[in-house]
């Protein structure tokens, strides 16, 4: 389970427009930088994107995007894997799923506790 500090880090990371859009694009598979048909289908890297490719879709300088990616990685929202001189980037669905579960739990608990009081 995610602890409070981790959750705050995730929210902070997603609370910036640029980072949110980067995250969204990575997650919805906006663009791949290296679809390599010769590689086996279970090779994640072959379908992944990389820093430069992401930066091409934004009006910000490359180092700016690089720093944003670092923050998303520090919040454990994305995974970055170095292979040769490129860094391949994938979403981390596990964290996002955990966050969704934690929200659901919160709402369910709230509904349960207010039911006790006022039957809503």
């Amino acid at each position: 389970m995610l602890d409070t500090k981790q959750k705050i880090k995730i929210f902070k990371a997603l609370g910036n427009e640029t980072r949110f859009l980067i995250f969204k694009n990575i997650f919805t598979g906006g663009y791949a930088c290296s679809i390599d048909e010769t590689k086996p289908k279970d090779d994640i890297i072959a379908q992944a994107t990389c820093v430069t490719t992401i930066a091409e879709h934004f009006d910000f300088a490359l180092p700016t995007i690089s720093r944003h990616l670092k923050e998303l990685r520090d919040a454990d929202i994305i995974k970055m894997t170095k292979k040769s001189n490129k860094i391949y980037i994938e979403p981390n669905p596990k964290i996002i799923k955990e966050l969704s579960v934690c929200f659901t739990t919160l709402v369910d608990n709230y509904k349960a506790s207010s039911f006790q009081f006022d039957n809503r």
Copy 2:
């Protein structure tokens, strides 16, 4: 459904430690400022908390807490209702639920799309 701007606002609101803790306390029903047994059970106000009560639980000045609450309200995370000279505060479970659904959808879509490629 929540649009991108609203989502970013919510994340920004929850990406600050103080606001996150305020939110958490409001949501988990940490403290009520006016449990009034004489009022009907379905009167939300009777079980709610207010600005001063929340501020008492933090080491920050009242105006600081007031501003944080305003931000949580602007993000639609909480509801604030003025009644006489107090402002009663409740969580808005609807928004949190929507956020949880939107994360779940994201993860499900991601899993579905990667299944196409590499059978994960």
